[in-house]
């Protein structure tokens, strides 16, 4: 008995945590998937209703806006963050004296919540008193900036604030990648006659493939989940013009009493994440195994 306890102690220690994860992650996800196939409205009902909610979801114009916005947001957010991240990391890698300070400055927004970020940018982008007024005061009298209240442009304000918050993080990832490169490779390239520009383009950036991969996966993940920033900055408005799937889901769940529909949208989000993360984790694990 004592021996059995000894032998199985590691499993016993892990068991409570594992049970919690099984229940609260996997169990809950299954529940959500199931409910997305029911008629649940205000309260969950367990009668099977087939694909009804999914069909409703994909015929809902608001869901289309949300998905379209997510696409726009994701492409711009990831693209800009990576471009800024690469530029900053390469520039910071040039043996700058103020590097520590600059790095701190570039990365501090990451410490702020999306609600704080959204609140600040909401004021900065304020259509009458914010950046518009600033430029008018500076002498650009025709300057207008009303994206926050413009149905066609509101999604881009979310991109602006999100890029501000997260691009420093991409910089940090790339900087860590650059720092891990063997110094001798760069020396060899210099002797081979490559200029700084071609060293980075032909030698270093191709070596950064894993960093590109991680950055893209992480940013994708942030963008699929993005909820707080939208709420704080535009609350999905004007109208529903800056809705995103995460906002749609909580709206349906907590304000519209459409639990079934909300679950269907949550399942869509879950599947999207699954499609990105599983191949990534798989390749990541294989890479680690190969590196061992």
């Amino acid at each position: 008995m004592f021996y059995w306890l000894q032998k199985n102690l590691p499993k016993i220690v892990i068991a409570p945590s594992f049970a919690v994860i099984l229940w609260f992650v996997y169990g809950f996800i299954l529940w959500t998937v199931y409910v997305s196939f029911t008629n649940s409205k205000m309260l969950p009902r367990y009668d099977f209703a087939g694909f009804k909610q999914h069909i409703r979801l994909w015929s809902h114009f608001r869901w289309y806006t949300a998905v379209e916005n997510l696409l726009i947001f994701t492409v711009l957010f990831i693209g800009i963050c990576i471009v800024i991240g690469i530029i900053l990391s390469i520039l910071l890698d040039q043996k700058i004296r103020a590097e520590g300070f600059l790095r701190t400055v570039y990365l501090y927004p990451m410490a702020l919540s999306f609600i704080v970020t959204g609140t600040a940018w909401k004021w900065i982008l304020n259509p009458s008193m914010g950046i518009e007024k600033l430029f008018i005061d500076w002498g650009f009298t025709d300057f207008t900036f009303d994206w926050l209240v413009n149905r066609d442009m509101s999604i881009y304000t979310i991109v602006i604030a999100a890029v501000w918050q997260s691009s420093g993080f991409v910089m940090a990832l790339f900087l860590a990648g650059l720092r891990s490169i063997d110094d001798e490779i760069i020396k060899a390239a210099k002797i081979d006659g490559a200029g700084l520009y071609s060293i980075y383009i032909t030698i270093i950036l191709p070596m950064m493939r894993p960093v590109f991969m991680s950055s893209i996966v992480i940013l994708l993940h942030i963008s699929i989940k993005s909820y707080d920033l939208v709420i704080a900055l535009t609350a999905g408005g004007p109208g529903t013009s800056s809705d995103m799937p995460a906002v749609y889901m909580t709206q349906m769940a907590f304000h519209r009493s459409e639990i079934g529909l909300a679950s269907a949208s949550a399942v869509m989000m879950f599947l999207t994440v699954l499609a990105i993360v599983v191949p990534y984790l798989y390749s990541e694990l294989r890479r680690q195994d190969a590196g061992r």
């Binding site: 910071l92 400055v105 609140t119 008193m129 940090a172 909820y227 993360v277």
Partner: protein, 300 residues
Amino acid sequence: MQVADPKQLEALERSASRKRTLYRWLLFLVLGLFAIYYLAPLYVMIVTSLKSMDEIREGNLMTLPGEIMLDAWKTAWSGRGYAAGDVFLRPFFWNSLKMVVPAVAISTFFGALNGYALTKWRFKGDNILFLLFLFGCFIPYQAILLPMARTLGILGLSNSISGLVLVHTVYGLSFTTMFFRNYYISIPDEMIKAARIDGAGFFKIFFKVLLPISAPIIVVTVIWQFTGIWNDFLFGSSFSFGEAAPIQVALNNMVLTSTSVKEYNVDMAAAFIAGIPTLLVYVLAGKYFIRGLTAGSVKG
């Protein structure tokens, strides 16, 4: 080519040094512009919070306050002094603290224990187990929001700080387990073997051998969890309202439920207050903050 002609040599030298200076200037210009881009919103927040509403209407985002007014900060922190519809941050700030401290402590402790058991006492299926934990880092929380709300209701924890502690502990476990597992896997197994030969058991090894050398990863994990939980809005706004809300929810309510006139100075002061704890952690322990971000970059 042959390094031969002195004239050519001189030209080479001159062009090399000219290029270097030019690059240097360009470099600092671009870096400086980006620094301004990142700092400007912070500047705007601080400046605005120190102005009166009249001043805000007269000036623009960048103008400095004529005289420094702390009224907005007072209002944001402790309200205007009348009861109805007065939202201010003080009680919610304490709510957040009461939520963060236990959630961080519990999830970190169990993460350490799990990481230890998964790496130093290998058993059949431990890798699969870890993957199952790891996956929890990636799930979009929308997929568990509804059942969680119901579970909290059944447990009688709806709209309570204890409920939020439970939620954050549960979903923090994946991250803390991953952090500790990845740290302990780099610690040589010989150390554990030596301790076992010396007669130490499972818990003795954990508390006497492993925990004392875990300071760096504990700091990383605590910072990660603290930042994540302090900054959370989704769980806070989904599972609590009114008095039990954490600070991010209160901040958002404050900004939305404006009285007749919008008071941007109060908004900015409130936003700043809500950001102070995490900013402080970042400034004081930035190294560990970044390490957490990059080390845990398998997650999201």
